[in-house]
Structures are given as structure tokens and as C-alpha cells.
Symmetry: C2
Subunit: 334 residues, 2 copies
């Protein structure tokens, strides 16, 4: 049980009566090595159960075989789904995944990106809490590709995979307006963050195009923020007849506030929410949601990253993905 002593490339070389250089070449798929050598080396590798030392490879190549994934909170189902998809693909290709949680803090993001620079990761998939972070440029200067996820970053050399937030917010408004709602309030995420700002913009634009007043409150993308933003609102006499909630965490807070106010959705107040976590259809009432194709987006982010890592592409690319409307009871529009 357990190899007593790790074999090195020199052990293999000795056994195959070749130089370590040749072993290295064979293992790295260098075509120029003669067929006979190839065979001898492969046999020796097999017989000794040799596995290259990752740590030595990393130092020599000045790259670790890891991909950094930076999100605000892996406990948010939106991001755990994303991390899961990235991880599945990464491991399949021999890369590891380093996970970092920023809690939407620019300072934490800077620290983590700095660490990833130091770690010489192959690439970074980043859902930025701070689009201006100079560490992003430091990574790119360093030759480390960056793919922005959900939100773009300032440095135009980065790739980006984002959802069509303007259109998503417009869709949410349409669903509610069609059901006769006019007093609709948007529970927005942080406005200094792109997803927050874009969804709010889309909401305001859509409301105005219907000649309606665009009211909004700020829930900061957090559960307690959603609760706090809505609690007062619901107590007021001219409370809105419908809410659009900017992400799944705030939705939990809003559901609590509605319950505490003794109201029932959609009867007293209709609801449309961004994100479609597994529990969306089981809460009371089942939620009408705008689902992002998270898995597809994550897969694409990995592909963009690998195109950069392998040098297959050099100009930045940006892809935009539509939301999918899932009509359920909470919007009162079924």
C-alpha cells in the first residue's frame, strides 16, 4: 500500500537506457523522438508506475496547472452551479480549480487576485466585485488570461461571458404589466456592480416606455439586504402591487418580509425574481423567474479561457446570453 519511494524521471531514463530529456520529450508528446525510443520509454514508465512530479513541472514551466475561480459567494446557488461546471471541465483536462470568495469586497478581490498572480495560475474566471481592480491588469500583463463572468471588467483585454440583463429586466416588466400591474418596484442589487446597474437600467427603461414610474430600492444582492429594503415598503399604504427582485439571495429576504407583513403572494403582491435556483418552484408561492443558462455560460467561459491558454485566440471575445422566463404562480400571470 502506498509507493515507498516516488520514481523520478531519472529512474525512468535509467530503466529505458535513455536520457531524462528523451523521457520528458516522449511524455510531452514530442513527435521527433524515434519510435523505438518512444516504446522503450513508455514501457519503463509503465513498469515503474512513474508519474511526473507536478510541483517540479510547475516550477520549470513557471505555471501551475490550476485555474482560479473568483466569485462573491460560493454559497449562492448561482455561483455554486458555475463553479461546479467549471470544475467538471477543468479536472477532465488535468487542471485544478482554486476557489475564492470575495463577499463583494473589492479589498478581498484584490487580495485573492494578487494571490492568483503569485500562484501563476493558468487563467482566471472572475465574477468581479470591482471592475476597476488594477490586479486584473496585473494578471493580464503577466500573460494570465482572464474571463469576466456575469459582469465585465475595465481592462478590454479580458474575455467576457455575460447575460442579457437589460433584456431580462424588460421581460420581467412585460410579464407584470401584461397582468395589469402599474406600481412595480425593483429590488435592485448593488448599483455600482454591472449586473445591478444593468438590470435596474432595463427596468427603468421598460417602465418608462409604458409611461410608468420606475421605483426601486437597494437590497445589495444579499438576503438581509432584500429583507431590509422591502420591509418598510410593504408597510406603507401605497405599497407596490408587484416586485421584481434582482437575485436569488434577495428573494429569500423578500419572501421573509412578505410573510412578516402578513401578506400573500401573488394575491397581495406579485413577484418576479432573477435566478432560478432548485428551490424556486417549491417556495410559497412558486416563483416566476428569469433563469440564466449558468451551466452553458460556465462551459463557455472555460472554452474561452482555454483558447487563450493554448494561444488559439488572441483578440478578446465577449458573448451575451439570453435569460429564460419560467412562469409560475408568483407573478399571478399564469
Amino acid at each position: 500500500m502506498g509507493s515507498v519511494q516516488r520514481k523520478t524521471i531519472t529512474d525512468v531514463a535509467r530503466r529505458a537506457s535513455v536520457s531524462p530529456a528523451t523521457v520528458s520529450r516522449v511524455l510531452n508528446g514530442d513527435e521527433s523522438v524515434g519510435a523505438g525510443y518512444q516504446r522503450r520509454v513508455r514501457r519503463a514508465v509503465e513498469e515503474l508506475g512513474y508519474r511526473p512530479n507536478r510541483l517540479a513541472q510547475n516550477l520549470r514551466r513557471q505555471r501551475s496547472a490550476a485555474i482560479g475561480v473568483v466569485v462573491s459567494d460560493i454559497e449562492n446557488p448561482h455561483f455554486s452551479e458555475m463553479v461546479r461546471a467549471v470544475e467538471d471541465q477543468a479536472y477532465g483536462r488535468g487542471y485544478r480549480v482554486l476557489v475564492c470568495n470575495t463577499d463583494e469586497s473589492p479589498a478581498k478581490q484584490a487580495t485573492y487576485l494578487d494571490t492568483l498572480v503569485e500562484e501563476r495560475v493558468l487563467g482566471v474566471i472572475l465574477s468581479p466585485s470591482d471592475a476597476h481592480d488594477p490586479q486584473i491588469s496585473a494578471l493580464l500583463d503577466n500573460g494570465t488570461p482572464v474571463v469576466a463572468f456575469d459582469r465585465e471588467v475595465d481592462d478590454r483585454r479580458a474575455d467576457a461571458v455575460i447575460a442579457d440583463n437589460l433584456e431580462g429586466a424588460r421581460t420581467a416588466v412585460e410579464v407584470l404589466v401584461r397582468s395589469g400591474h402599474e406600481r412595480i418596484t425593483f429590488v435592485s442589487g448593488r448599483r455600482d456592480v454591472e449586473t445591478g446597474a444593468k438590470r435596474l437600467d432595463g427596468f427603468e427603461f421598460a417602465m418608462r416606455s409604458h409611461g410608468l414610474e420606475a421605483r426601486s430600492v437597494d437590497g445589495e444582492f444579499r438576503t438581509d439586504g432584500g429583507h431590509a429594503a422591502v420591509a418598510g415598503l410593504l408597510a406603507s399604504p401605497d405599497r407596490p402591487s408587484a416586485l421584481i427582485v434582482g437575485n436569488n439571495l434577495m428573494t429569500l429576504g423578500v419572501l421573509r418580509a412578505i410573510r412578516e407583513a402578513g401578506l400573500r403572494a401573488p394575491h397581495d403582491i406579485a413577484l418576479v425574481a432573477f435566478d432560478d435556483p432548485p428551490w424556486a418552484e417549491f417556495v410559497d408561492p412558486p416563483l416566476t423567474t428569469l433563469a440564466q443558462p449558468v451551466r452553458r455560460m460556465a462551459t463557455e467561459a472555460m472554452e474561452l479561457l482555454l483558447e487563450r491558454v493554448t494561444g488559439a485566440r488572441t483578440e478578446p471575445r465577449r458573448t451575451v446570453h439570453p435569460f429564460e422566463l419560467r412562469l409560475r404562480a408568483s407573478s399571478g400571470s399564469q
Copy 2:
């Protein structure tokens, strides 16, 4: 913007007019270095903005500064909470976290553990899908500490942090029996997995001690498994009056089956569920749950791991954590 050229330990040594060895000693807290040297080195480090190359340190030490976390699925809130807690602590101490998803597959687990051996991680926190996996022993042989999380492993050299599953199941039964239920079915997880087996054992023991028949179905810890296991059951004329569900994923499947059967909980069927994800209080009906102190357990797992890494402890340790009952509407017992 972006360091043009990384500084090395030799650059620092030259600037401080000392040897690289001295720089290394100062940076690694070697007390024996003279105060004057200390100061000179620290100044040079500061001035050059020197940061040690992690990759070189790893090779030299034959250890990477990473901790492997192996769970069945990071999309399960139980595990994302655990990973989050581990990650918070790890980064604070300068370690990285490598995440691996096994999907409850022994083959995947073996592959990932093998990778972690190769990666020379500092330690592994493992929620095992296969307690007998010889790779676990390979890690331990290798000097890599292993902390079993949720479920124990065969190799007694590993530490373990587990919940009191027997007692948890007993509590669930008590809640329902006290409300007058006698036909209670347990929706179990995989019986070849410790949490599955223990919770089932506890259920059967508690039921028998009340002179009741202990029926159970197998939902394999998965959402669709929970759905499939319960769908037929609910259609039968002598359907149970209450269900105990073995984890949060299966609970989503059970909620769907109940809805599809046109039943209402707790009126038609009462429910007690293991795990207390954020959505538990917002589903219809709010769930009575058995919550594990996941965060505390994860923190403890990290502490146990670090005690081993630093060599502060050599004998294995095992800690057991109680569940906490959260009474809500689904059990019909409020």
C-alpha cells in the same frame, strides 16, 4: 501596472548584501538571524516588493500550500456551506483550496484522491463516497493528513468530524410520534454510505422502541431519487401519514412528488427533513428540519487538519456534533 520582472531571492540578497540563505531564514522566521541582518533583509524585501515564488517553495518543500476538499457535490448547500467555511479559514492562513466533486462515485473519488497525492497537498478534508478507498491510505502513508467529514473512513489514522446521526433520526421520530403519527416512512440516502446507514438505523431503532413498523425507501441522496422513491408510495391507499427525509436534495424531490400527488403537507402528510438550507423556511409548507452545525464542523475539520499539518497532534481524533431541531409547519406539531 504589472511588475516587469519578478524579483527573486537573489535580488533581495544582493540588495541587502547578504546571502540568499539569510534572506530565506528571515522570511521563514528563523530566530537565529542577527537583528541587523533581519532589518537589512526586511528593508530590501520592502524596497523591491519581493514576494517568494510559491512554485519554487512547493518544489523545494515537496508540498503545495493547498488543501484538498472532496465532497459529493458542491451544488448541495450542505457542502457549499462546508467548502465556504473551509475556504475562509484556509485563505486566511495562506493556504489554497482545491475543490473536487465525486458525485458519490467511488471511481471519481479514487481519481481525485490520486490527483491530490500527486499534487502533494498539505491535507485533505473528505466527505467519503467510498470509505474503503485505498487512496485514503495512500495519502496517509504519504504523510498527508486526512479529516473525514460527515462520514468516517476505514483507515483509523484519519481524523473525523461527524454529526450524531443516530440521535438525529431518533429526534425526528419523536417529533412525529408525539404528534400521533404511527405510519412513518423514512426516505433514506444510500445505505452503503455511513450517513445513510446511521440515519436509517436510528430511525428503525426509534420506531421499534415505540412498537411501530419501520418502513423505508431509498432515495440515494439525490433529488430525482427522492422523487422516485416517494411517488409510488403516495399513490398507494395505505400511504404513510408522515415522512422523514434523509437530506435536503431528496426533500426537493419529495416536495415535488407531494405536489404531483395533489396532496398537502402537513394536512395529508407530515414532513421532517435532514439539513436546514436557507430555503427550508420558505417552501410550502415551511420545513421542520434537523440542522447540522455545518460551519462549526467545517471549522473544526480545519483545526484538526492543521494540528496534523503542524505536527501538534499525532493520535487520531473524532468529534461528534448534535443536530438541532428546527420546528416549523411541515411536521404539523407546532
